[in-house]
Symmetry: C2
Subunit: 231 residues, 2 copies
Amino acid sequence: MPAAQPPATPESPESPARTTAEQAGPAPEPAGAARAKGRPRSAAADRAILDATRETLAELGWGGLTMGHVASRAKVAKTTLYRRWPSKNELVVDAVASLFDDLVMPDLGSLRADIEAVVAQFAALLDRPETQAALLALFAEGTRDRQLRYRIREAIVDPQKRLVRQGRAAAQARGELGPDTDDAAARAEVDIIFDTIAGTVEHRVLVSGEPITPEWTRRFTDLLLGPLIGC
Amino acid sequence: MPAAQPPATPESPESPARTTAEQAGPAPEPAGAARAKGRPRSAAADRAILDATRETLAELGWGGLTMGHVASRAKVAKTTLYRRWPSKNELVVDAVASLFDDLVMPDLGSLRADIEAVVAQFAALLDRPETQAALLALFAEGTRDRQLRYRIREAIVDPQKRLVRQGRAAAQARGELGPDTDDAAARAEVDIIFDTIAGTVEHRVLVSGEPITPEWTRRFTDLLLGPLIGC
DNA sequence: CTGCTTTCGCTACGAGTCGTAGCGTAACTG
DNA sequence: CAGTTACGCTACGACTCGTAGCGAAAGCAG
């Protein structure tokens, strides 16, 4: 999932997505036109680059990561790197996004247990050096670059809101939470819960620099559960 | 409050307190003992540099801020800059820290009103371009540099915990909250509330990129108040 | 097979930044 | 006055950036 540069799309398994879409021109062939004419891009190079990016992030951090380092570690020419990702920012988004896919909503039988499990997973993810090096730096870059912020939300942040939705749905099925009345209100509640969990755990780990212990998780879950369950 | 470099006398760290006397350091000589021997550092240059740093942050962001830019905007030689701050990181910590001093705990007569007022102040601070450009970038750098993280907490983060403590004390005086039983538990509660408020608002504004409305603040305060007040 | 097309590795480049060193001058102290 | 320190200025080597040009490699269509 390289950053869909202007050139051709590599190994898109299903819908090639037509990278020339921004031309908005004739569009002779509708979607599905997998027109690979020349030499196809190396999928192995993609993997090597993303792996090298994560490794370099873990070793040298955000500031120490340069396109040159990544290229040489991936045993790839620097120009090959620039053909796929326009800059370090987009490269790191793709390299880090996959790390967040491992988060799952377990459904342990109670809302409290589910929340605590997700918090623990998130804390473990934030303990990885790649994540630490990349996440806040990406967010910082995103405050200045609207396109980048959109990409970050699309690839990293928003997909995790599914966890909140799933947890809510499970709790509603159990009767721990009442059913949704208003659709907009439900969405706002998902947003606020998500920002609270993600923001608080990030602040605790990455800013305050203190560990997420089971005791802390219990207290934090108390905070979240209070108004939801209605005591 | 420059970063207390090793300004001169490289091999005699036993004479700190240097230049700016408001350093809360050891102060071997009684306060006010300005026993500066040579030419004193220009306080005007300090102010010009910190102002230029904030302006450059607002204009060019974290990535666009270079020591050369700041120096030329402050009409100061680059070497003068390096004599006071070892790097961009420490410079920006000092330049941004003062922005946070304006936050105050208002004591509006109810815990809810106090929380909402502080959230609104913090949201306004996070709307400033200097703050946006600097805060997350500093946090990101802090994940790799322990000294820097300590400086950030010391200069920017921890001082704001006073707001939580003051709010708690006021609420206890009003009878909204019970008195502290355990001292360690009280400290842990202050920490968790602080991480929750700061982390959530930061995530909402800087990551999700959505505004802090009165409506959102009300909902968020509900979340915090639930378990504290005991419904 | 032969062309056509695109990617690949490699080299080289100008521009910009970094942090430091050296020098002469300015400012303040005793 | 001499002594000490900060200042402005210039210059430097090292590094990264992003791009350009080249010949070679790897697929696809005829």
